[in-house]
């Protein structure tokens, strides 16, 4: 087993410690999948922040994005860096852990302790690899609902997430309307666009083309498709930024040199930056998980599950929605958010929509955008107020 997988085995073997918690459901509690298959045994790893109040009304579920995990706040045990939403989640922050009980679980198909392709198949004693069933966003949400049942939490004050996390949040509102008081969906869409599927396909093909991928059996063979996964990450990372931000950050500046090398070294800072992004990503992420989770996003089309009419996904909903987009996000552009808002209006839902002006692209939802914090704080405060959370 290569280093990329060590954190997940560490996380799944320990329950209730500082690294987070994990639970494996008994075989009778299998996860029925959209594909028709069953996922069993189902393991889920999660982390909580803040205390659950007596009437269990203050639970907030955070849904992570493609390469995120349950470590939304605090220090990430693998990278040693702050959690992916540590700007947003913590004492006194918009999602205030003095007030809310925040739950964040690793998605199924992931590689940080929840069931995924890296798990050992009890029947063969080998990792599942591509024998792992293809999963969907709805399957992820179904697994989260099982986790909440396990935790004895009936309803959520808020389900929040950006990008793929926003897809899950919307799916939550559609699948379990009675369990979701509010939804905060940031930089997301109700379906994955053709362009986004295309980018994902580039990433997957980069992994598949790496000889160390070995038809997905790299764990058993002691190889690791690092190069393929790194290229996938590099290509994807470009889509998370904007042309303006890349130019502002790097321009045509050279990296550690005064002149062009006339070779294929990383002459430009932007190349060096991307290589670093790719190299550090493979240290914490599993290539097969990347295949499975990108596939889940590609398959996401909430309207298709409701007769082609998105509004039907939210029919009669009592959930409050806050939909957020960023002007420079070309991966999940404002037009996609507006389609969600349109459908919510058609369903008579209580919806707010804000588009923030920033040049930081799709990743803006993970960054310091003070105006966004102020607005989201207002939304979350009003949610707390209407739930009677102090």
């Amino acid at each position: 087993m290569s280093s990329a997988f060590q954190p997940l085995s560490a996380a799944s073997s320990v329950a209730g410690d500082a690294a987070g918690q994990a639970f494996t459901f008994p075989p009778s509690q299998y996860l029925p999948l959209d594909s028709g298959e069953r996922l069993s045994p189902l393991s889920i790893a999660w982390k909580t922040f803040g205390r659950l109040n007596a009437d269990k009304s203050n639970a907030v579920l955070l849904c992570h994005a493609l390469t995120g995990d349950q470590y939304a706040a605090g220090t990430h045990p693998v990278t040693g860096k702050p959690g992916w939403w540590s700007t947003m989640v913590g004492p006194g922050l918009p999602i205030d852990t003095n007030r809310f009980h925040v739950i964040c679980s690793n998605v199924i198909g992931g590689c940080m302790g929840s069931s995924g392709p890296h798990d050992t198949d009890a029947a063969t004693g080998l990792p599942h690899g591509l024998q792992f069933p293809v999963i969907t966003i709805r399957d992820m949400v179904r697994a989260q609902a099982m986790l909440l049942d396990h935790l004895g939490i009936a309803t959520l004050a808020c389900v929040a997430g950006g990008s793929m996390g926003g897809m899950q949040a919307l799916q939550w509102a559609a699948s379990y309307p009675g369990r979701v008081h509010s939804v905060l969906a940031i930089a997301t869409a109700a379906r994955h666009s053709a362009q986004n599927i295309a980018f994902h396909e580039v990433g997957r093909q980069a992994i598949l083309a790496d000889p160390e991928w070995n038809e997905g059996k790299y764990q058993a063979l002691g190889t690791n498709p690092r190069k393929g996964l790194a290229v996938a990450r590099m290509a994807a990372h470009i889509t998370y930024l904007s042309e303006a931000a890349l130019h502002r950050k790097f321009g045509r500046n050279l990296q550690d040199r005064n002149a062009l090398s006339y070779r294929f070294d990383a002459d430009f800072q932007v190349e060096s930056y991307l290589r670093h992004q790719g190299a550090s990503f493979v240290e914490r992420f599993d290539a097969n998980s990347y295949l499975y989770i990108t596939r889940a996003m590609d398959y996401f089309d909430l309207a298709a599950d409701h007769g082609g009419v998105l509004a039907n996904a939210f029919k009669g909903t009592q959930t409050r929605f806050c939909v957020v987009s960023f002007t420079s996000d070309w991966l999940f552009p404002t037009t996609e958010s507006k389609k969600i808002v349109h459908a919510l209006n058609a369903a008579g839902a209580n919806v707010s929509f804000v588009e923030f002006e920033t040049d930081r692209g799709h990743d803006a939802f993970l960054l310091e955008v003070p105006e966004m914090f102020q607005t989201l704080r207002g939304f979350i405060d009003s949610v707390a107020q209407s739930r009677g959370i102090r």
Binding site: N345, G348, S352, F353, E371, T375, L376, G378
Partner: protein
């Protein structure tokens, strides 16, 4: 000025039945929907174009969608609100007739207020100075005004007829803030009112887009 606008919003709020579903188009910083929510127990929502207005509303917990009256009203299904309000905004839209048509489609009652270009101060300013009028409500120079489709009370009555609306009520507001019912034929009110508030309705029918 501020006092008068506040007064006008109160007048509009008086027309809204308690517990209604209300959409305030061009809701600014949410003064009216905040008031309707608190004082009338209304399910009040807004549309606002400006980022600062939207932020202010959402930050107060008011449901507001960032959008434009000219383009985004079509997102709402027919009859989805009891009352739709367009306060001091119609004169700034690109297609006032289409906007009014959309308002009547999505709201059972529509309340529209606008600055009256037939107001005597407007008339005398252009008559005596030969310059584009500037008044309390119309305070911009012609070259930077957002008000691109100004009208008089008489003009608005014609527009209401053109879109098949019934005028339920019309109020004339003078520059002292005094309010009275507009009485037909309305020549006097058209001269004396600085602004007007119209309450309209329309039978759902063939004239409205589906």
């Amino acid at each position: 000025m501020r006092g008068q606008l506040r007064e006008e919003l109160l007048r509009i709020a008086d027309m809204v039945p308690a517990g209604s579903r209300v959409l305030d188009v061009g809701c600014g910083h949410g003064e009216l929907i905040g008031y309707l929510k608190q004082a009338k127990g209304a399910d009040a929502r807004g549309i606002e174009l400006s980022q600062s207005g939207v932020n202010a509303c959402v930050a107060q917990g008011l449901p507001v969608v960032q959008g434009d009256a000219d383009t985004d009203l079509r997102d709402y299904p027919p009859g989805s609100f009891d009352v739709v309000i367009l306060s001091q905004t119609i004169q700034a839209t690109r297609r006032p007739k289409d906007v009014l048509d959309e308002l009547l489609r999505i709201g059972r009652q529509v309340i529209v207020s606008f600055p009256n270009f037939g107001f005597w101060k407007v008339r005398t300013r252009i008559f005596f100075s030969g310059r584009m009028p500037k008044t309390g409500l119309l305070s911009h120079d012609w070259y930077e005004t957002p008000n691109i489709h100004l009208c008089t009370i008489a003009d608005f009555v014609v527009l209401a007829e053109a879109v098949g609306a019934r005028i339920e009520r019309a109020l004339a507001v003078d520059d002292g803030g005094d309010v009275r019912e507009v009485t037909r034929p309305g020549y006097w009110d058209n001269l004396m009112a600085e602004s007007a508030i119209f309450q309209l309705s329309r039978e759902p029918g063939p004239q409205g887009p589906a």
